[in-house]
Symmetry: D3
Subunit: 255 residues, 6 copies
């Protein structure tokens, strides 16, 4: 059930059977020479919509704008300041909480969303801890689709060290599956493999300023061999992710 | 050309021929018993995408979350505070301005976006007036599709006083055209016709708090006979709007 | 009854008979070579004070600082950022709301105040919609004096296309009436007449950054032939506006 | 020279001979059973306007809204949050600084303005210290008229311990002089004399929340015997204050 | 009793006997060629800890970062914007207020903290005046240790006009006593004595921007002959200050 | 070299040889029945100070207030809202960056600091990406001491599954070593062992609101058997952590 393709009486009825909602969070930022700028939104949204089919969960509109300042030197990137994104998430949750929603599951497609979401969650909880919000306690979870163990195993199996961190073949494969017309046929060499240290220190897109980042990664990919992506892999990734996320969401609703 | 379905080299190339971008602005709020919660986003986005075909303009991701607090008592509505929406618009524009974009044309589908957009525009200009932003002067325009004279004539011709202010047959007709599966077949009586005074005093969704608003308009429609909507009208509305907006956008680029 | 020329027991007594208040909103910005920088405050305040005489309404202190960044390149202009002005309006209303006031009628003298006021109104309503404010639902209205139909007819009759958008003869006539000593005797040629398009696109002072605006309108007037102003016109304008606004305010109190 | 009663060419010419401006800061808050709610604005503005006559200084519009939350339980009081007032002061100064003004002298009529003004000054300086503002270094001063040594001596001589802290006879005398019609003839007993400790601990209106404050001072006066006020005292106070402030302002311009 | 060296059951028990807490406020800023950057934190904290011994008061963690933008041109200075410091103080107080604390006594070691603290106090009170905070009315006091009459007499007796305003021998003497290893043996000439006017106009560290301030006071001292400091004076100052502050705190708890 | 125990000429000299600084980040929150409220600040600060000895790095004042809203129902906890903490970190870094510092290494003792720090880093980088800050590109790193591989191995070896997530024996052992007087001798049973799922979902202190959290963990410990802590373990942990962090910091300076 897709929130924005429903009517308000549909949602009023849904609230009788569930107080949970899934919110896809993506990004609008460069994804290398082959990847679409909207890649992260496409991946999160397609997995969340597949979850809706499997689980009956309500899925809200995708947050397509994210924190991605490190990619601003690549044209087409749109970045919200962390403080803006935190406010967006807070307003999104408070709106639905005022109507009775209690469980908010962010199905995430962009590493740079993690820290702002964690801050938004704590702002939301703090308002309840300090008594400035009337609506009751909330349950808030963010899950990046690639962190689901089944998905992680699959993408490592498919692409190994070519997966990398940004413009990964797995995310591009999903866009090829969802938007066939978007497939780029250009050849592209592998990206240099990242050190373990780099991956640890820059987890969740903890990157530098835009000018330094483009100097470091001139074509925009961060360790990913995007050219390995195949649409049939994308189909499998969406399916495996949706099933794993559905199980995870059901456990969440029981907390 | 759709920004999020392009790569960064595509955008880098586009900037050689144009510094303009079209940004659809919608809403996520109840639209009466028959209208989709995402109606305003569907209308703005479908017209903007048709503009892209006609004009070669780049179209960015739709702002699907808006200021709509007056509808919060209807489940499914998500509202950003005006201050949040202003920051989102400022960050959106500054991101692209830092890459060389100069002309920002907001193709608008929701009355409640007008005041926050006007404030965002003045914040953006003020940063340049006071010298706190390096990127040069901007051109900023918001156009609500129903305000284009050709569209206004068409929708008045089709629905007359049944058009009303919210959950209008014209916007619902567009969603029926774009998302055929969404069509609701329920019968629905006409809404009481609004006074001229009411329309003037509540222009651009200048409505009351959520509890008062729902008490005033119990099924969510504000003077609109949504049941008059027909998908074929929607097709015509999109086409007329896209042509009129394209002409308007071209004049804008010459300012 | 003027709030700042009353004592608190006076206001406590007033609240027994009315919960309405009129708040004049002006500006501090250049008004061309002949117009006073405080023109918009003088017009709004003189009409509001005349309303007090006619209606018994309480009139609060004038907001003399507005959003007017586009005029900053003309010395003497003082501009609040939209976000600042929104906060000022919110604090003004919440202060009086905590004491029992419920109807707030902003008698407006400056186009650039409209969008921030609309945002402030929605912030105020949203706090009630989401339950973060204890004081009950509010009624909020902004009325620009030149938009009152009787006034609009009068000023068009007096000055026709010479009225224009900024440093209008009608507003200057009012300052000549209220502050006779301020009358400037210099001759001044007519301003170029504005196109309909320009007037639509820049309604409510939706102007450019300060440097661009001064380049566009080197003497500060925007399409207005300020030199047509006559103090006797000003007297009539105040009187017609106060009567029309009083009727409008009385209808508002009944909503 | 009064800024809002001047034209922009007047100010452009003024800037050739001075970069200083005087800004009166008042308040809109209860002043006991006899005092006007606008007392602090009347006092600051009348002294500042007298300074303009003596010194040729430019005087800007009075900030009539202040931080005065402790008086909110008395109807008619309007209070800005400190954060709002700081932003207003910052925007006021930055507007004029962008045009070449450099010396800002706040002639103050309300104790509660002192701390927000000190914060605003440090925000303004910090923007220069950190290089986020282009306009050069500023000189910023706030002077409360009662702190000028000549004025302090006069008011102590006139009223002694009856002067107190709020709704003082000296401030009320000034309003009687400036607004003769406002004079209240009611008898009023003396207020209890304040302890030295209370005066030290609550200097600059460092008072409690509104409910506690009204419980402490049921008629709104804080240690002041307002009934001692005489209009002829007010005339003397304005004259002595304007002369002393003019000398002080001239020294300031030489720093 | 030191809050951060206690366990939560210790604090739960403390709240049974007192709802008061002492919060030392210092600074991290240059203190001339001989003074430590942390001088103000050392002084406030050592006096507050001595108060804990004398009075049984609970002492919270020291706010070591302050508003000190005027010293940013001296390396090692860390300054919070006033708006940041206000938020820190508000959060600190609201946290403990939500647990039942009511009396907050800020033992202050830095002039630049005064105005932000006064603003924070009024923000905290305003939330209660307007009903946006559930926790009841608060008592809030800031006391600068040098303002306690007994301390003021002692430091004037010890150093006379050599005391000055910044990098005072009295504060440096305290650091010599508390941190013997920090004592610097370099000779340093006296600082030029400050005029009365300067001291009045720059009370509570109301200084200029960083570049202007360093130009005015090239070695960082503001009128203080730091070289007069002796550790044995520091011991006396701490002892006299702790006793005086304890008496002051006890009176405060009875308000 | 400890920043606050140095003079400004010391720091000016240090900047000639290094542009790096270590900033300990702790917390002020309950740590179970045996742990000190300041545990996280003690651990981070003691390791950072040991790093100073090993590496010659400059160490700034500890951020002792953190985001810890989930612990507010335990008396003594002080929590900054994420937005406040982000601003504190931004101001801290910008202050030192304006003086020439470039490498900021946050030695972290509290999981709840991670997300706000990541947001602060991106705000700082974004200001450079968008050109609103003059000071050049920055290098920013946060390292939680328990995440250093050598430390992680040691604490797992010492305490195994008794380590848990909050009020861990390893952190308490460090406080026992640093503050011997603080050692509590009470017996305390083991905490229930946490599930892997819980640890993943609540990593970096992503906990619930305060009331829910205390209901879940009534004595404040989250899966930790604090009673296993021994001071001699604390000594080893500090020493191993300081060595590992020093190596890590040196690599960081070479990036």
């Amino acid at each position: 059930m897709i929130l924005h393709q429903s009517t308000w009486p549909d949602i009023e009825a849904y609230l009788q059977r569930s107080t949970g909602v899934v919110i896809p969070t993506g990004s609008t930022e460069q994804h290398g020479p082959l990847g679409l700028i909207g890649t992260d939104s496409v991946t999160a949204e397609s997995i969340a919509h597949a979850m809706a089919d499997l689980s009956g969960a309500l899925v809200g509109p995708t947050l397509t704008l994210s924190q991605a300042q490190f990619n601003l030197a690549f044209p087409g990137t749109v970045s919200l300041r962390p403080s803006t994104l935190i406010q967006v998430m807070v307003d999104y949750v408070e709106s639905l909480a005022s109507q009775g929603f209690r469980y908010f599951y962010f199905l995430n497609g962009h590493g740079g969303n993690v820290a702002p979401a964690m801050c938004a969650f704590q702002e939301l909880h703090a308002a309840r801890s300090l008594g400035t919000r009337a609506a009751g306690p909330l349950r808030l979870r963010l899950r990046s689709w690639w962190d689901l163990p089944e998905v992680n195993a699959l993408r490592q199996g498919l692409y190994g060290s070519g997966e990398g961190m940004h413009a990964t073949p797995s995310e591009i494969a999903i866009t090829q599956h969802v938007l066939p017309a978007s497939r780029r046929l250009d050849e592209l060499p592998a990206s240099p493999v990242l050190s373990t240290d780099f991956m640890k220190n820059h987890a969740s897109d903890n990157h530098l300023d835009a000018q330094s980042h483009r100097a470091q990664f001139p074509d925009g990919r961060v360790g990913s061999h995007s050219g390995l992506a195949r649409p049939e892999d994308g189909a499998r990734l969406v399916s495996v992710a949706a099933e794993a996320a559905t199980r995870d969401y059901r456990r969440f609703l029981e907390e």
